[in-house]
Symmetry: C2
Subunit: 542 residues, 2 copies
């Protein structure tokens, strides 16, 4: 007899540690989905991810688990629900999934493989399960993998021993460059072995530096992708599995899947910025708009994230700033439909110089002073208006220390802190030609060409150019990429001037103290400062 | 026949990631100690501790291990040396000890128990050994425990199965409150079981937030402590073990052991400050001296750490600052024999207010503005003079957000960031009555009584008192201690006004974003911000 089961996939955006808010969100979905047999939510859907040391607090873990009682009453009598939460068992905390059936916790599945590299510290928080878990529902037999369980191929051997009808993978898997391809290739490999459907459900949303990209998907037993859910947006789908192994889409209101790498990176930081602001209970941001490429791109990202009404820009010139810079900033602000105020910092700068006459400030000190006056003004406006300050230093600058601590590094969040300068240009060009898939702001070419084409300068002294102190960005970024992402030592880097490589490595080491006090920002690489990149304050290369 | 073996204990202060410097230091000691049979160095003596993600870089790990070749040539032909380094084996990195004999690596011991809580992330870095290790030398049989191996009682069962002559414990164990008692109690328990001598060697020195306290010791087989090495200072000792199990001191130039808890905490932060400055290749520091207790204590710590010549103080008054504040600051500076410059920030403050007239700055913004002008001036002086800026916020303030980001939080290092305000008072009183054991600065009562006795105020508006916005510090600190160190939820805290507890918890949550961008400082507790305390930017208590 042909039997089938319906499975609902909830690609939700929850909020770290907001137990009551998250359980209300889950309850709402359960209530709306009473017609489906099995309703899935991502890993750690109740607590959010990552809760870090909150997961050590037994009161927090228990409070999270107790939310299941609230959720139960919203579940239809014919539905089963799988929901993620930390769980205390004796003195041990597990990364668990509860299977709720008939208003009761029928089964609990614990994560076996705890990731502990990059941004993951799960061995700090959880006890691993001994094995992976399975359950039966209406005659269907499922394997349950919790995120890293799926990535560890040793677990595949265990799976192959069981005759499952489908594999369910529940995730809180953050975006990084090409991550979606890696996931899908892995899923394809696993399906080739098992010849069974695979259901991959991820959460979506920004949490401090991390951004979960959603991008949930389903493969059938032949390795065809039958469902692709939205990138960087909430989504909902229902699939139907029958006892011949056939799996089909039952319901999927059109989602938006993003394939292009630049589009992915841009959209990632829009979502990360939007959620950072919203999840801290803010609505507005303020940006120092210099007329340079970095702040122009951040302004465009902010408008895509929050809308023009919620973004304001401040130009903070000194006498070193060219009038063209202001024109570029003004054009950019106009294109983005955001307000631009100008506050000339020269009188304040001169008053500092006068008050500090006896200190004989060095050239470096006077350059930093200008950046810090700007930081001070922007923070004053932020404090007065309740708008979060976004900082705008790119990864090349942060890597070299070409930024001023307590100056241009001021800010709650930095949308471009994991983008090298060369990528900043690519993203500006991309955004000028394309709209952002998750934004209502439908304007292209907002960043004036002059901003993209002119030579980069910090304008902290007359005729200053970045190229005075830094190698050309394509060279710099290539060297940095080998030092940072590829984890090479200076000696291992070939094809560049040796002395230049050593100089860049030295700049990277000498500026770690600045990055230690930097705001967080959108992670897009596998080596985002302070997230994947955890080093002593002074790194030595010998 | 009575045989004996001499064992040299090197309580050294190395430097994180300075492979060449550390191996030169170790080589020097080996050369001087050619008369001893077994020469011990602490865990990770070549690489330093903690190297964090440098331990992931195979080139770094190999370079560290290769230093052993350099060291070998300095070892006497009758000596064996035990030295710590990361070690690459296949693709796995171990936390290892090399036993060098006859200019060769005779044996390698790998750490079995990898600590992964608090400030430790060793499961991120290392592969664990399957078991603990033993070796024979001149007919003596030793067990080797590497730090956490000693703390895990499951390992004691393994030890008890072997008939060792002595247990050698090699450590990089950072100081925290009462840690030394915990170590010695544990050692006593283990000796009671084994009835064999135990040799505990620790390193000494500050590394970013951590401070290793040395405090190495030796117990005989009856559980008597026969050797206690210095607290917070390098030290050297030789012990003699004979084949009747008798263990005696062969050589120990007088060390200084510190028992008093306040003395320990004060000395910890003096060493941490001294080493932070020196290990980043600086010599001088600058401090904003307000006339309040926090900056006065930091100034005294800085002078103890670096000497009066290397500390300069700046008073940065506005019209809100009382003349008494300046007199107190001046007296303190005079007592400490440090220079005090005064820079009135009022003209700069007024210029900011004038330039920002149209922004209608809020009261909060104008208060923060003053703190940020001070930060800006101090950083300008730091940039111009090459003196590191020390920040002076205490743990109570940091916990409540009673600090200004980019203002008084500016600085490379904060000697008191893990001391609650009530402890700040205790330490000031203690230091006024006692000299610091590791300092040449022999002056007591440097902190004027008026500073200790007056009511705390930030002086950011007329007649402001801390008690306007905060509960009395003894109450505040007691609540914070339960929330932070004891990891309680607001609901679990009894004996205080419920509303007050909730308010304090809320302040703690709301200010996490500030702490994320704070400088590091001396860890003395088991919950030092950013080190043991790793939380989402906004923590929820529900």
């Amino acid at each position: 007899m042909l039997k089938s089961i319906t499975i609902a996939l909830n690609q939700i955006n929850n909020r770290v540690a907001d137990l009551i808010g998250n359980s209300a969100l889950i309850s709402r979905h359960c209530k709306e989905q009473q017609n489906y047999d099995l309703i899935l939510f991502p890993e750690m859907s109740i607590s959010g991810y990552p809760c870090q040391d909150l997961w050590h607090r037994h009161h927090f873990v228990n409070q999270s688990w107790q939310q299941i009682q609230q959720i139960q009453s919203f579940i239809g009598s014919n539905s089963c629900v799988m929901v993620g939460s930390p769980q205390l068992n004796g003195n041990k905390v597990y990364n668990s999934i509860a299977l709720i059936d008939n208003q009761q916790i029928k089964k609990v599945f614990n994560k076996k493989s705890l990731p502990n590299t990059g941004v993951f510290h799960e061995k700090r928080h959880f006890t691993p399960a001994n094995t992976i878990s399975y359950f039966s529902l209406q005659g269907f037999y499922f394997a349950v993998l919790i995120c890293e369980d799926f990535w560890q191929k040793s677990n595949w051997l265990l799976l192959a021993e069981q005759d499952v009808d489908a594999v369910i993978v529940l995730n809180s898997s953050p975006y990084s460059f090409e991550k979606q391809n890696k996931r899908q290739n892995l899923a394809k490999n696993l399906v080739e072995i098992l010849k069974k459907p695979l259901i991959y459900l991820n959460q979506v949303g920004g949490e401090d530096g991390l951004v979960f990209d959603g991008n949930s998907f389903v493969f059938d037993g032949e390795g065809n992708k039958i469902l692709q859910m939205s990138s960087f947006a909430c989504d909902f789908a229902v699939i139907k599995l029958d006892n011949n192994g056939k799996i089909t889409i039952d319901k999927h209101p059109a989602g938006k899947y993003i394939e292009c790498n630049l589009a992915n990176q841009y959209t990632a930081t829009v979502l990360a910025t939007r959620d950072y602001v919203a999840k801290k209970n803010f609505t507005k941001v303020v940006i120092g708009l210099s007329g340079g490429i970095d702040s122009a791109l951040v302004a465009n990202i902010a408008v895509d994230a929050l809308g023009s009404n919620n973004v304001s820009a401040i130009a903070l010139p000194t006498n070193f700033n060219s009038s063209q810079s202001f024109i570029d900033a003004k054009n950019c602000a106009d294109n983005l439909n955001i307000s631009l105020q100008t506050i000339n910092i020269e009188p304040i700068f001169q008053q500092f110089l006068s008050s500090l006459k006896q200190q004989n400030l060095s050239q470096l000190a006077t350059e930093n002073l200008q950046a810090r006056i700007r930081g001070n003004i922007l923070m004053s406006i932020s404090n007065s208006t309740g708008a979060l300050l976004l900082s705008t230093g790119n990864k090349s600058e942060l890597a070299c220390g070409y930024t001023t601590l307590y100056g241009d590094m001021c800010g709650a969040f930095n949308p471009i802190y994991d983008f090298y300068k060369t990528t900043v240009y690519k993203l500006a060009t991309w955004r000028n030609a394309n709209n952002c898939p998750i934004s209502d702001f439908i304007v292209v070419n907002a960043i004036p060409n002059n901003i993209i084409n002119k030579e980069p300068t910090a304008e902290l002294r007359p005729n200053q150019k970045d190229s005075d102190s830094l190698p050309p960005y394509p060279v710099l970024d290539a060297i940095l990429h080998e030092l940072i992402e590829q984890k090479k030592s200076p000696q291992q880097i070939k094809g560049f001037d040796e002395q230049l490589v050593r100089k860049v490595a030295q700049m990277l080491c000498n500026s770690e103290f600045k990055r230690k006090q930097a705001s967080t920002g959108t992670k897009v690489s596998e080596a985002a400062f302070n997230l994947d990149w955890i080093y002593p304050t002074k790194i030595f290369w010998q």
